[in-house]
Amino acid sequence: MKDLLAEIWESIRRNKLRTALTGFAVAWGIFMLIVLLGAGNGLMNAFNQQGEQFASNTMVVYGGVTSQPANGYEAGRYIQLNNNDISITQSALFSENVDEVGATMYSGPYVLVLNGRHVSTYLVGCYPNMKNMNKIELICGRFINPLDMQMERKSLVLSASHASQLLNGGEDYESLLGKSVSFGGNSWMVVGVYKTDKSAQRVEEYVPMPTLQVLTNELNRVGQINFSFHGLATEEDNNQFEARYRAAINKAHKAAPDDQSSIWIWNRFTQNMQMNKGTSILRKALWVLGILTLIGGIVGVSNIMLITVKERTREFGVRKAIGASPWEIMKLILAESVSITAFFGYVGMFLGMVACEVMKMTVGQSSVEFFGESIRLFVNPTVGLDVAIGVTIVLVIAGTLAGLSPAMKAAKIRPIQALNET
């Protein structure tokens, strides 16, 4: 082994420039592979983080505008969701798949006053299921409960960021529970405070939807209907369910049953499915791209090894004449090829990982404003240990492949021909 390494080192030492140039091609290939995979991971992590804000097996339904005339109405009619639509969703028609049904409506802005301090905010009228739908975490107190709904209580769940503006110095969130907040001439009771993320979305307060309908005097207005579901495993199942659901709601609003724009259905489950499909395609594409770049490097190494074999024909002939077996000769070339590939590959991998860290510290920290929400485009754009191991395997295979044809050529050298060469 030591002797083999000495032989390789000797050969590389004699061809420094040539080795460095081809080595660069390999290093570049691996560098690109790592950086591409890192960037891809960053994108996917950002996607996933975005998706994690919501429960995944849920649908959200919004009112839309009709696209077909139906039942004596022209196309282009605005469809407003109402309490009846909630009932339809809860009905036996869909109970096989639908679990918990809820709805929301927005209203505002209002100025909340407490402790003589005030903040301006929007209210979200919602059902108790909102807590699970949007993965709301309470710091203290409770969320809207069925009793709030039933009795149309003036209960209020404050956001932490607004709560902190209403706090007296030295007091904690807990002290707000049970206090009354006034706005619009009404007095509401704080029942809970929920956690808000600094980078996250616009901040709002939650109240029971029936209470908000009364307050705004819009007893039959519903902004969105949302529900969790089960038993819809495939995209096909989901599409069928959505079509059935759409037909039922459309019928209630006297729109054509197959009108696609009368209501909008946002299915987070199929959306995730598509996103996962997308990310796996992206990941594969990145590997293919990286490997193509790497193949350039391999061809380079293969070429340099071919030149080496040609130059060393006579030497190999001598070695054979004094007893080297074909395998001994092949070993020389293969080991040299794998060494060059692996060494420069690791250099490339190291530099690629450094580049990923730089990405992490720069674009990985920044976020863009998108419809009022700040979104991070890159989250932790680095590669893991699994990739490092994968790359090692790829490098050894690549080096072997690169050396294979030159090595076989070297092994086939007939000593007598080699020795006759001048």
């Binding site: 030591k2 001598v318 000593p415 007598i416 020795l419």
Partner: protein
Amino acid sequence: MLIELHNIHKTYDNGQPLHVLKGIDLGIEQGEFVSIMGASGSGKSTLLNILGILDNYDEGEYWLDGKLIKNLSEKEAAHYRNQMIGFVFQSFNLINFKTAVENVELPLYYQGFGRKKRNELAMRYLEHFGLAEWATHYPNELSGGQKQRVAIARALITNPRILLADEPTGALDSKTSVEVMNLLTDLNRTEKVTIIVVTHESGVANCTDKIIHIKDGIIGETTMNEQHKASVFGTSTIMK
């Protein structure tokens, strides 16, 4: 018999077939010191390469130490070359990026010897040939005679049954040629190495005990030369 050739034929076919060896019959005993002479192109090197298992033959049989050398795989051929045969070339064929001692070691490497043992043995051979102080020099720092002595050391280090030399003095001046031939003679006398030398210098042939003449691809006359009086130029010189 160490070497037995029966009706060996060899034809080169590079577009036009060239029948070089046309039925060679030859026997060489253990410990003989033989030279092969003949005109240029008569097939001397071809014959020696077949003896050294560097080349194959088309017809006949070649027995080496009781083994039939025919249709060997490259691996087997390499093994026999390594174990039984030492080869010395006219143009030395040293590996020029290896030092003298590294060159001499190489056959032992292919026998699987460790680094230390190889080095020890190689140094002993170099010392024996008066080359100890040149051990760490590269071939291009050595004279022709020194190079040929290194090559002979390399050929002998595995203790081969036969030493084959194709015009070993071809690239040397007459004084150095005498030195090299004396060295071969000495090896034959004291170590009992079987030596076959191809040459077209009668002075070189005169150093050997038996001169085999090859003509038109077959063995012509064989001269016994125990008295070493075959050279027209005298017994102890090699005319160039």
